[in-house]
Symmetry: D2
Subunit: 492 residues, 4 copies
C-alpha cells in the first residue's frame, strides 16, 4: 500500500467510530467539527509534505523492517543522521502549521517500545518485541497515525499508583485472560488522540513490585469497545465556531487538540501487548520515550518560533517601525533564542547511540537540556513578539466590525470604514493584512496556539523539574569534582 | 452630593446614551451585556471599597478644592504621601478584581492637566487652569468616572501628526468657533471608555508649530453628539456569552475593556477646553500624564500579581505538590518580582515633588524604571504560574462536561462522573475547586485577563522603548562620567 | 567636641594599638600601609563630606540623645525620612569612593541594638538599653567609628553553636565575673574592623536555650587586650605595593578591607554589655540588624553603580563607540538596573515603622527584596561594563610599560612609545585617559573593588538564600490565597 | 618526525629568540618566568594529552596532506565528525587546564586560510593555496605551535584602515619587493603569541579597494627580525611571583597569556604570503576564521565550566551545605547552562559543510549563536559559583598566614593555628582543602583565570554585537516572513 495523501488520511478517519465528547455532548461528525478540524489538518500536513517532491527526502525513508518507503514518522531511527532528520522534519512541520502536529508522540513511542521490548524479552523470555515489530509493520504498511500515550491522571502526586485511594488514577490491568487482558484507567492531556487510528499505551512512571499491575504497554485501535475521549478546552476555542471565522482565528487552517482518553474496561489481545507486569522495565520505557520527546521540542517549537519571528518582523513593517534599532535587536534576540533551541535538538541527536535492539537513542543529558530551554525561551520569544506587535494585538475590534456595513458616521461611514480608516498604518500593508498578522500573534501569544507554543512547551514531555532531576542524574558531578581537585591540588 | 455606591454608579450609566458597537452591531443595553459588565463591575468596585469602613481611609480623601470628602481617584495629590497612597489604593483594587479597574487614567489625567494648564496660563495668559478646576469640581462633586484619553491611532509611525496622509490619524481641531471648537479623530486602545461618564482628552506626542491644530486638550461627556465607541476583542471574550458561564471564566465577576473612541466632528464648548494650539505644552502634558501612569503600574499590577501568587500557591496545594522545594522557591521568586515592582511604585512616589500649580508629581526617572520592570516581571510571574499550575490548565474539559449527565460509561457513569473522577487530585480540594483555580490561572495567563496582566503591562502607559528613551534622558550620564573621572584620576 | 575632619580621624587611628597581621607578619604602622590605607581613606571620606557645605545637610543631623550635631552615621533614625536619607547618604559615599566605605555596619548595629535592648529590658528588667544609650552618647560625642560585627566563623553549617565540636566557632562567654564577662571566639569577614575605634558585637543566629552562652552583645575598643585581626586577601591586593602604583590600581585612593577579628579571652566590663544569655532576643537583634543592612545595599551599591555606568560611558567614548545604538542601549540597561536597586532601598525606607524604643525600622519584606536584587543586578551591570569596555581591559600592558624608556623599535621607539601609539583610539581622549578608565573598570569587574561590588553584593548582609527565606516568611501567602479564592469563587 | 612531548615542546621554545617585554623591561628567560610559565604549561598539555593513550584517539589524527599521524590542532577538518571532535578535544583541554590553552587560534587560522586561499587563487590565479599547503605541511611535520593572529589595534573605530590618522593602526604592507614584502603594524590581545613558534597573520575586517595594502595574510617565525611582544597584565598576575606561591594561586600550574605583537618593518618572504592586496577576500578570511573560532568557545569554555561546576560542588561540601535544595538546584542550573553551550558547539559542527578547497566549515548561524551564548552563560555560572562559594572566597587570609609560625594567641597559638582553627568547616575536608577550592574559585571568578573565563568569553572571537550582526544576516528573515504570511493568509 502506498503512502496516503492528506485527503485519504482524513477520509480514513471517517471510517472509525471513535467516541468523542465535548461540551457535555457526543460529537458524531467530529472530522468536520470546526473546533477539531484544524488539528486534523495538522496531521494531514504530515502526509501532504511526504508527497511533496520538495520535502520527500526529509519526510520519507526506507523502512528497516520491510524495505518499503514509509513516512519518517513511522520510522525506527537507524543512525544519528536519522535522529537529526527527525528534528529537521519537525522544524519543517512547525514552520508549515505553526501548531503542534501531533504525530511525533507515535514516532517517539515506536522507538522507545522497540528497544525496551527487546531488553525485556532478553531478561524474561517474553515475546513483546516480536509483537511490537509485527504491529509496527502493520502501521508502516498502512501509513497510520498512532497516539503514543503516557500521562496518567496521577491523582495524589505524593502517592505511587498502587497507593492511590482510587485504583484507576493510573491505567492498570483489571483482568488477565487466556487471550489478552482487560485494562482500566485513563490517559490525560493526550495530544492528537482523536485524530489517531491507534493508541500505543505506555506507563508513566518507574514502578516497584507493588505497582506491577500498572506496568503495562499495549496498542489498541481508537474506536475499541470501552474507549472514549473527552475534548479539552483551549483559549479562544469557540472563535472557530463563529460564522465565517477567518481573520480573528489568526491561524485558520491549523491547530492542536488535547483530550482525556478513557479506558473503560477495554480488552487488549495478547498480540498487542508489549509489557505486562514486568515492572522493572516501566522506568526504562518512560525514560526512553521522554528522552525522544524532549528532543522533539528542539524541532517542532523551533519551527513555530520561525513563524513567530517572521510574523513579528512583518508586524514591525506593517506598523512602520521596522527600521528602529531596538526592533531589529529584538528580532535578532528572538532568532538567537530560537536557534539555541535548535542547537540543543541537533546536538542531542548527533550525540545519540545505538540501543541493543539496533535503533538509535538520543543523548539523554542533552535532550533534557534541550527541553529545559524550551520551558523558557518560547516565553521570552512571545514576550518580545508582544512588544513588537503593539497593544493593538489585543484591543482591535472583531473581524465582523471590519466587515460591517452598519452606518455610524455623520458622513455615512460604516463601522467597517471607521475600522479600516483608523487602523491603517504603514503603506506597506493594507489594514486587513496588518490585522491578519496581529491576530496571528494574538493566537500564538494568548489564543488557542498559545496552548501549544507556551503551555505545551512548559509541560509537554515532562515539566521543568523533571528535566532538572535528569540533568542532575546525568551531569556526572563526581567526575567534575575530580577535575577541580586535580587543578586545585587536592589529593584524595 | 455624597459618594456613590457601586450600584448607584451602575445605574448612572444607564442614563447615558453612549453609542457602543461590537461585532458589527450597535449594543443598546451595554450595561448588562455579559462581555461588558465585568469591566463595569471593576469600576463599581472603586465605589464599593470607598464605602467600606475597612478601606475608607485609603479610598477617600478631603478635596483640596472643595474641602469635601471625595474618592481618591478624583483627587489632586497634595503630598508624596498622597502619591504613595495612590499606589496602595491601586494595589488594593488589583487584589480585589485581578483586573484593570480603569479609573486611574482619569486620576492621572486630572493631575497632569491641572499642573500643565497652570503653566500654560502662566505663559500665554489663557484660562485653562480655571476651566479645569471648575471641571474637576464638577467631577468630584458628582463622583464621576472620567476616561483620561491619550493614545491616537498614529497612522505611519515615521510621520508627525501634520505629515500624515489622513489628517485624522491624530485627533485635531477642524473648526474654531466663538463658543468652542469642533474636533475630529479617534483615541485607540481606550481602557474603560464605555464605563466612563466623561472623557478627558490629551495629545499623545510632543509637537512642533506645524502640528498646532493637534495640540488640544478638553473634556466631553461620553454620549456627546458625534462620539461613539467600537469595542475591542479580547482572548476568550465570548466565553462570557456562554450559557451559565461560571467556572470556565476563571474570573466571573471582573474584567477589563478596551475600545476605539471616535470623534466624528464633536463640538467642545470653551469652558471644557484645556489646551488649544499651544503646541509647546503638548509635550509637558504627555510627559506628566505618562509619568503618573507609569507609576500606576507599580500598584495595580502588583495587586493582580498578589492574586496570581495566591492562585499558584493554591494550585500547588490542590495538585498535591506544595511541599516540593522547587515549588516553594518559585512562589518566593514570584513574590520577589512582584514586590520589586511595588518598590518601584512606592519609590517614584515618595521621591515626588511639588509642581508650580501645587499638586505633586512623581519622580520621572524612577517612574520610568517602574514601568520598564512592569514590561518584564509579570511575564515571568505568569511563566512561573504556568509552571506551577501544570498542563491541566489548558487541557481540562469544559465546565459543561463536568456538569453533564450524559451517560457514557459501562457502569452508567456520566461525562461529569468521569471528569470528576479523573481530575481529582489532593484531598485538600474538590475537583471543582481545583478546576476553579486552574481556570483562574488560564484566564490570567492566556485568557481575557492576560490582556490586562500581560499585554497592558507591556504597552499601557507607553511601550518599553518609550521608557528607555526617558531613562536615557533622565539618567544624568554626564554627572556619572564626572564621578568616574574623579575616581580614575582623569583631569578635564 | 566638634565633628572630626578626615585628617583628624586618620590621626586618631595612630593612637590605637590595634594588632593587625598580614602575610604572616605583624603590621605596625598599618595606618600608612599601602594595602590598608585606601580603606582608611574611604572612612575618612565619611568625615570629609560631613564637613563639606554641599553635603552637610545630608551627612549631619541633630542627635535625638544629646541635641548636638552629629554625623548621620552615628544617628538613631527618627523618621522614615531619616531612613531615606541614610540611603541617599550611602549612595553619595558610593559615588565618591566607588568602594565599600565601611561605616554603615556601625550605624545599622546602633539602631538594631538600641531597639532590641529596649525590648529585652522590658521583659527581663535588665539595663542594657541604658548601657547602650550611654555608649552611643560617647560614640556620638567623639565622632568615632564602630565596627558592627555579626558573622561568626560558624564551623559546620549543619550544627547549632552549642553543638560544634570546637566551642569557639561562635563567639561566646567563657566566664562571668562580678565586673564583666570574658568572651572568646571570632568574627569573620569583618569589613572595616581595622579602621574602627570600637567594635560592637552581636550574635549571628537565632538561638535556643542550649546556646545561651552564645547570646551575647557588647562593645569593646579595637585595641583591647586579647583582640587582634588577620587581614584578608583581595584580588590584585599587592598591586597597591608596586612602586609608584597609580594607573594600574584603577582606583588609587579608595578601597575596602576585610579581616578575621579574633577574641582571645577578652574582658568586657558590665557597662558595655547589651545582651548576656537572654537567648530569645538573639534572633530579634539579628533580624533587625540584617534588615537595616539589607536596606543599606540599596544605597551604597547604587552609588558604586553610578560610577561604573559613568566609566562605561567614558570607555565607549574613548573607544570611539559611543554612538552605536547597542552601546546606548546597554548604558540604559545599566541605569535601569541600578535605579531599580535604588527604588528598593528607598521603598523599604519610606515604608519603615517606629519601634517600641522610638527609632525607626525598615520594612522587612522590601529590605529583603532589595538585597535579593543586589545579589543579581551588579553582576549584570558588570557584565555589560565588560562588554562595553572591550577586551583591552584585561590585555593592556602595565603602567610601567606605558612609561618605559627602554628603546625597542628600529627607529628608537621606546616601549612607552609603542604602547601609546597602538593603544590610542578616539581623539576624545589620550591613551593614558583611556587606560585609566579601563583600569578602573578592571578594578571593579575583577580587581580589588570586585570584592566589594560583586562578592559583597552577593554575601554581605546575608547570602541570597537568607533573603529568600525571609521573603517567604514575610510574603503573607495565606492572605494571597484568600484573594485568589475570592476571585475564583472558592468558598471555604 | 614524531609528535613532540610536552617537555620537548618547552625545550623547543628555548631555541627561539623571541623578544618579550614586561613591566617596562626585556624578559630574557621567558620560558621559566613564573608569570609566563603557566600559559606555556597549557600549551604543553596539548602535546601531553596527544601522547596519552586514553586521549590519543581524540587528540591525534591522520593528516590528509601527508598521511602521517599529527596532532588534531594542526589538522584540516575532513568531515563534520572532525568538527565535532575538535569541540570535544577543546572541552577536554578546558577540563584539564581550566584555562585558555591557546592552540586553537592556530587550528582555526589553518582551516580559514586553507579554504580562502583556494578561492582567491581560483579568481586571481595566485599561488597562495600552494604556499599555504607547503607551510602547513612544515607545521604538521614539526608539530609546531602557530598563533593565528587577527585583531589589529583599530584606532578610531569609526574609520576604515586607510582612513586612520596613523596608518599603522591596522597591520599593512609598507613595501613590496621581489622576494617578499615588508609589513608594519601590530596585532593586539594575542593569546598565546609568546608560546608560539610561528605567527599566521590575517586581516581583521572586510575591506574596500582603498584598504588594499591592509589586505594581507602571511606566516612568520616568532623571533623574526623586527617582531616583538609586550606582555599584558592580568588580574592577580603578580601572585605568581610571590615566594612559594601555591594555594593562593588557585590554579598553580595553568594559566593564559595575552600580548601586543608588534611588527616593526618585518620582512615576509614570498612563499609565506597567503593574501596580498586581494582586498575582496579579506572579508571571507575574517568570516571563516571568526566562524571557526566562535565554534571553539562551545568546547573550551564548556571544559572550564566543568571544572567550575565541580569546584562549586566541592565548595558546597566543604562548607557543609551540599544537602541544601537551593545548592543542588544551583549546581543543576550551572550544568544546564554549560551543556547548552556544548549543544551549540556540537550543533554548529555537525551542521557544517564542505568548502571548495575540501575542508569542512562550521554552520555560520549556529556558530554565532554559540558564541553569543558564551558571552552570557559563563557570567551566570560564575555568579552562581560565587553564591555557592560564600564570602570567604574573598576575605580569607593569605597562604602565608595559614602557614605562619608567629605566635599571637595567649596560649601560644600561631597565626597559622588561628587561621586553621577558625576556617575549619565540614569534617569532609581539611581547612587547606577548603582554602584550595575557594582560591580556585576566586581565580576563576575574579583572578587571573577570570580573564580567560569571563572577559575572553565576552570578547574573544568577536564581541557580542559582532555575533548579533551575523545572526541578523544569517537569520533568513525573509523566508520566515513568508511562513507567517502563508499561515496568516496574506497573499502577496
Amino acid at each position: 500500500m502506498a503512502l496516503l495523501t492528506g485527503e485519504e488520511y482524513i477520509e480514513s478517519l471517517r471510517k472509525l467510530k471513535t467516541r468523542v465528547y465535548m461540551f457535555g455532548e457526543k460529537i458524531d461528525n467530529w472530522v468536520d467539527h470546526p473546533m477539531i478540524r484544524p488539528s486534523i489538518n495538522c496531521v494531514a500536513a504530515t502526509y501532504e509534505l511526504a508527497q511533496d517532491p520538495m520535502y520527500e527526502d526529509l519526510m520519507t525513508v526506507t523502512s528497516n523492517i520491510t524495505g518499503k518507503k514509509i513516512n519518517r514518522f513511522a520510522h525506527l531511527h537507524q543512525s544519528t543522521e536519522d535522529l537529526k532528520n527527525k528534528v529537521k522534519m519537525q522544524r519543517l512541520l512547525g514552520q508549515k502549521t505553526a501548531s503542534c502536529f501531533q504525530r511525533c508522540v507515535g514516532m517517539d513511542a515506536f522507538n522507545a517500545v522497540f528497544s525496551t521490548t527487546f531488553e525485556t524479552d532478553e531478561k524474561y523470555g517474553t515475546h513483546y518485541h516480536d509483537n511490537f515489530v509485527k504491529y509496527l509493520t502493520y502501521i508502516q504498511d498502512n501509513d497510520l497515525i498512532v497516539d503514543g500515550a503516557m500521562t496518567d491522571p496521577k491523582g495524589d502526586r505524593g502517592l505511587s499508583p498502587s497507593q492511590q485511594s482510587d485504583p484507576d488514577m493510573y491505567l492498570h490491568i483489571v483482568e488477565k485472560r487466556e487471550d489478552g487482558i482487560i485494562v482500566r484507567g485513563a490517559k490525560a492531556h493526550q495530544t492528537g488522540s482523536i485524530n489517531s487510528h491507534e493508541h500505543l499505551i505506555m506507563p508513566t512512571v518507574a514502578m516497584a513490585e507493588a505497582d506491577k499491575s500498572y506496568a503495562v504497554s499495549f496498542a489498541i485501535q481508537s474506536d475499541a469497545d470501552g474507549l472514549f475521549m473527552i475534548y479539552g478546552r483551549q483559549s479562544c476555542d469557540t472563535r472557530k465556531l463563529e460564522e465565517d471565522a477567518d481573520i480573528d482565528l489568526g491561524n485558520k487552517k491549523f491547530g492542536g487538540q488535547e483530550a482525556l482518553v478513557v479506558f473503560d474496561n477495554v480488552f487488549i489481545p495478547n498480540e498487542r501487548i508489549f509489557l505486562c507486569e514486568e515492572y522493572d522495565f516501566a522506568g526504562m520505557m518512560v525514560e526512553r520515550f521522554a528522552g525522544y520527546h524532549r528532543q522533539s521540542y528542539g524541532g517542532c517549537k523551533v519551527g513555530v518560533g520561525d513563524v513567530v519571528i517572521g510574523a513579528a518582523a512583518l508586524a514591525a513593517e506593517y506598523n512602520g517601525a521596522q527600521k528602529a534599532s531596538h526592533i531589529k535587536d529584538k528580532i535578532i534576540e528572538m532568532t538567537h533564542l530560537n536557534e539555541t533551541l535548535y542547537c540543543c535538538g541537533i546536538a542531542c541527536s548527533t550525540e545519540g547511540y545505538k540501543t541493543k535492539a539496533g535503533n538509535y537513542q538520543i543523548d539523554l543529558l542533552l535532550a533534557n537540556v534541550c527541553k529545559q530551554n524550551v520551558t523558557r525561551f518560547p516565553y521570552e520569544i512571545v514576550r518580545l513578539a508582544e512588544d513588537i506587535g503593539g497593544g493593538l494585538m489585543v484591543t482591535m475590534p472583531s473581524e465582523k466590525d471590519f466587515k460591517s456595513d452598519l452606518e455610524v458616521g455623520k458622513s455615512g461611514e460604516t463601522i467597517g470604514d471607521i475600522c479600516n480608516k483608523y487602523f491603517k498604518s504603514s503603506p506597506m500593508a493594507t489594514t486587513e493584512e496588518r490585522m491578519r498578522i496581529l491576530r496571528f500573534l494574538e493566537n500564538i501569544c494568548l489564543g488557542s496556539s498559545a496552548v501549544g507554543y507556551r503551555t505545551e512547551s512548559m509541560h509537554g514531555a515532562g515539566s521543568p523539574q523533571a528535566q532538572r532531576i535528569m540533568i542532575s542524574r546525568q551531569g556526572n558531578i563526581e567526575s567534575k569534582k575530580q577535575l577541580a581537585k586535580d587543578i586545585a591540588g587536592i589529593k584524595k
